[in-house]
């Protein structure tokens, strides 16, 4: 405990670097997943390819990916850009399938009704389709947030600053409190961001929390998202 109190500035710096890598990756994964999912929804051929690519991406452990990516990107192995790109790829592997499900959960009749009311394709997407897909998108994004925040720490062994440095440093110097602080803070950041998302979801989609959740998949034949999402990428 005294280690933690005496090193608050170090911990703060690492936490800042942690967010600097996690947040861009989360935002990029979310923003990029939407058009890819829309495209996949329109072209059925693409859907199989995307789910295969997502499953493959998933299977690749994170540390080797951090090491292999610089060859493709031309970045240094200790660069944050390298980590952000890797985390974005993992985020996409989780988010694209979730977004495809989300857009599929929107009732086609509702979309046709919106068209009949005079919505153009762009306005219909923003005003009708995206909000209705929102709850399922949010569920996917929450998984992305928690797994991304935890994955950032792996960069620590390569010397990329993040809360993972607390594990590396704590292990080398034999300071248990430092490692514990890193674990607790990483989990706390993940849970805090997750909580913020839930609150944002309630504010933006009040209809989803009132009454039953829409687009709840039927219990039969729906694999538990936890089973799928706890996979690879560690």
């Amino acid at each position: 405990m005294s280690w933690v109190l005496g090193n608050l500035d170090v911990i703060g710096g690492h936490a800042g670097a942690h967010l600097l890598q996690a947040l861009p990756a989360i935002v990029l994964a979310f923003v990029l997943a939407l058009p890819v999912a829309k495209l996949a929804g329109r072209l059925g051929v693409l859907r199989g390819g995307i789910s295969t690519a997502a499953a493959l991406m998933y299977a690749i452990p994170s540390l080797p990916l951090f090491i292999v990516l610089p060859i493709v990107l031309g970045t240094s192995i200790r660069s944050m850009v390298n980590v952000i790109v890797a985390l974005t790829l993992y985020g996409l592997a989780l988010m694209v399938p979730a977004a495809i499900d989300a857009f599929r959960s929107v009732d086609g009749d509702v979309l046709r009704a919106a068209t009949a009311q005079g919505y153009g394709p762009v306005a219909r997407f923003w005003a009708v389709e995206l909000p209705l897909a929102g709850p399922v998108l949010l569920a996917g994004l929450r998984v992305v947030v928690v797994s991304t925040v935890s994955l950032v720490t792996v960069g620590g062994v390569l010397g990329v600053p993040s809360l993972g440095m607390l594990f590396v440093d704590g292990f080398q110097r034999g300071i248990t409190a430092e490692i514990l602080a890193g674990i607790v803070l990483t989990a706390a950041i993940a849970l805090a961001l997750d909580g913020l998302l839930v609150l944002a979801g309630r504010a933006l989609m009040p209809w989803a929390s009132a009454g039953k959740a829409p687009a709840e998949p039927s219990p039969a034949g729906a694999p538990d998202p936890a089973a799928a999402a706890a996979g690879g990428a560690a």
Binding site: I67, V143, T186, D224, A227, A228, A230
Partner: protein, 222 residues
């Protein structure tokens, strides 16, 4: 690209394929860790998950545990246990088991839940005991989901086993950390490619098992 060629050179060097510290031995160690972690975790998590899924009791707890475990940083657990119980295989094994349990648990309880309740009722109506319902109806029908859990757990342990090398154990992670220490990027790259290949091959093999266990004539559960 030169680095990639150097890594391929490293991989093709026949001297790497024999003796202690060679690729076959590290590969065997890595596979051994993975099997150890997944099997130990499965012994605990699969019966527990089936119990939760069959009775419906403790589901909230199981879901929360799986969710919370996802927030745990693997490197943190590996280094923490290494400090607490010392260098050796026990520390990483503890981390493997803890990290593998959530996926196995989720796979097992969702396997029971995915079975049509009418099918379960029909089995009871035929006079099956609860144990028979579980082992002859729910488990065979939900097997693909159980395997999904095993796949996720296996991938998790393969990547965590790499970090085991960081705290002084063997496995393919050795090449990565040795390369890191000596600034030998081709060796790190070669080690990384080996781990990626291992992960993809094992995942593909389990995918095949999953396809084979899919019950014939039933609506696929996963």
């Amino acid at each position: 690209m030169n680095q990639l060629l150097a890594a391929l050179d490293w991989l093709l060097d026949p001297a790497r394929y024999s003796g202690p510290g060679g690729i076959p031995m590290r590969l065997a160690e890595h596979l051994g860790y993975t099997a150890l972690g997944v099997v130990l975790a499965a012994v605990v998590a699969i019966p527990l998950g089936l119990l939760v899924g069959h009775t419906g009791r403790g589901r909230g707890l199981a879901v929360a545990a799986s969710g919370a475990a996802r927030a745990l940083p693997t490197l943190g657990l590996v280094t923490l246990f290494a400090l607490l119980v010392g260098i050796g295989l026990l520390a990483p094994t503890l981390a493997f088991v803890i990290l593998a349990i959530p996926s196995l648990l989720a796979g097992a309880y969702s396997a029971c839940e995915a079975v049509d309740p009418r099918t379960v009722d029909a089995a009871r109506a035929q006079g099956m005991t609860e144990m028979q319902v579980l082992t002859r109806v729910e488990l065979p029908l939900g097997m693909p989901l159980v395997i999904t859990g095993i796949r996720a757990a296996t991938l998790q342990v393969i990547s965590t086993a790499m970090l085991a090398a960081y705290v002084g154990n063997g496995g393919l992670g050795r090449f990565i950390f040795l390369g890191l220490k000596t600034q030998d990027y081709p060796q790190m790259l070669a080690g990384s490619l080996l781990v990626i290949a291992l992960a993809l091959v094992l995942d593909g093999a389990l995918l095949l098992v999953q396809a084979l266990t899919r019950p014939r004539g039933a609506v696929p559960a996963g």
